[in-house]
Symmetry: C2
Subunit: 327 residues, 2 copies
């Protein structure tokens, strides 16, 4: 690919730094602009990475010649910003969750259709080599049908009450931030659940500090998941099959990782899976590939996938009676 892709970033927070780090591994990418509601924050970010445009005016970025925008703001702002970018003809890679509920995700997808613009949820895990390897492994005849997935993502935070993790107005809580990973994994391997039973420990602001869910799928497959900001539970994925085999990804299943294959006799084999960059680059590479091919969505993580994922999270929230104040 000889084409240079000009990128803009909205929301120069922690995740945006990771994105810029990833761009370094993609010579066809050029970072052209950064937008923040806080001008100083945009300027600081721009200085650090030599970015020509630093602004608190979204139009300045939208009027520039950037091809694609990476949206890295807190969740509640994804919908409006993504629609604004799409309406102005910019391709969008938007941090997960694409938006906070099914209605918002539908609205975003409508905007992408209407304006004929590429749109993808930045579910970076989907594009990592070990996830590709996982899909390959669960599809072997030896592995057989998946019987059970046991997955979770939990770590202890000491963030103050106003932090976005704790703030219902910013769609805080563990579900949308980290619970999304085990849910994504179950959906990727088993499709949409046919039944969800969930429970949650809410924080003082009313969002889920700890979330637990039992998921039922067709063909007798089941899953147990939990997420929490309350304790250090790691990020594990255990996939068990009806033939007695298993796959274990214990070392942060959502990031570049190894995996342990276990056969029906209980014999284990560790597989190291090499990866480039910081892992974030794989999803950006997919955006580039899609743009070259003039595709509006990725086959690997389609609009329908984003709709399904948010739909599952909506169902989980209905189960624990969690509504964000703006809903």
């Amino acid at each position: 690919m000889n084409k240079i892709f000009n990128w803009g970033i909205i929301g120069p927070g922690a995740i945006a730094h990771k994105f810029v780090e990833a761009l370094k591994f993609l010579p066809q990418a050029s970072l052209q602009g950064v937008v923040s509601t806080n001008l100083e924050s945009a300027q600081r970010f721009a200085r650090q990475y030599n970015i020509p445009i630093a602004t608190n005016q979204l139009n300045e970025l939208l009027d520039s010649d950037v091809d694609a925008v990476y949206i890295a703001t807190p969740h509640h702002a994804h919908c409006q910003l993504t629609v604004d970018c799409l309406t102005n003809g910019k391709a969008v890679l938007c941090e997960k969750p694409l938006a906070v509920n099914h209605k918002q995700v539908s609205e975003i997808i409508e905007a992408a259709k209407t304006h004929n613009c590429f749109l993808m949820e930045a579910l970076w895990t989907r594009f990592l080599p070990h996830i590709e390897k996982l899909i390959e492994q669960v599809n072997t005849d030896t592995f057989g049908k998946i019987a059970f997935i046991d997955s979770n993502f939990a770590f202890k935070t000491e963030y103050p009450p106003g932090h976005r993790y704790n703030n219902p107005a910013l769609a805080g809580g563990s579900l949308l931030d980290i619970g999304i990973y085990p849910i994504f994994l179950c959906y990727l391997l088993l499709g949409k659940p046919t039944q969800i039973k969930a429970d949650a420990l809410l924080n003082e602001q009313g969002v889920d500090r700890t979330l637990q869910a039992l998921l039922k799928f067709k063909d007798d497959a089941r899953a147990n998941i939990f997420s929490s900001f309350h304790f250090n539970g790691g990020a594990k994925a255990h996939i068990y099959s009806c033939t007695g085999c298993a796959i274990h990804i214990s070392d942060k299943f959502n990031t570049p990782s190894n995996m342990i294959l276990e056969n029906a006799k209980g014999e284990q084999k560790n597989i190291e899976i090499p990866f480039d960059g910081n892992g974030f680059n794989y999803q950006i590479d997919e955006v580039h590939r899609c743009l070259v091919q003039k595709k509006l969505q990725s086959n690997m993580w389609s609009w329908q996938n984003s709709l399904d994922l948010v739909d599952i999270m909506d169902q989980v929230r209905a189960n624990i009676s969690l509504k964000y104040p703006f809903e």
Copy 2:
């Protein structure tokens, strides 16, 4: 202790062999009789271990000078046999679950009271050194309050439809056989749950092949458990605290084991916990201690503990609408 304790066994199956193996580590125990509905099976067992009485007539054992009876039959027979033994003045160590529901366990306890006889559920795990160590560790100031327990017991079986694991008439299913272990662990560390949400995959006979449950306890503590005869999920226990510490028992938490202590920085330390015999001997030792002290129940696993445990399992079953045909 100079006193020799004469033991009888009812139900010479797999678990009874384990019991006899354990008796070898207890010189104060003598095995005097074995009862089976199948006389040949009793005689074969008696020949193997040089046991004087081998019979299919329970009275023969009850009329002998055995001090204590170990009941190792399938679950559905525990209640009647235990009551028969207690009524005839024999101390009873009965395999877990003590009986299949709260009503039966209450009946057994009443019989122990009425006939002034020792009674204990053979929840052998309770008496193992690593469980004592676990209790000690979770009670340190450093560990702090328990936030979450993630525990399970699952293995794949290929038993035929008539096997007791699959048979509702024998109170089959994963809950009473192996789900009892993670439930016991949660109860031991957190007391009785204040809320249970469960789901189950039933087999063709209508008992739980896979069981999943979310447990809620006072003080914001939570637990996720599952049990299954459907896949090889191992027997794990992860205990997470509000201070960021954790204890991991990954190598069969219900049997003699090691444990990994994790501090709030994520640093891990492996602790090997030495044990005698095959582990089963600890519970028998407790019976001997109680008999010497003329106690009717153990302080370590009391009648109330057995009542609470079966009450939790009754609640789980109510949640998944599972009734055994004899209920």
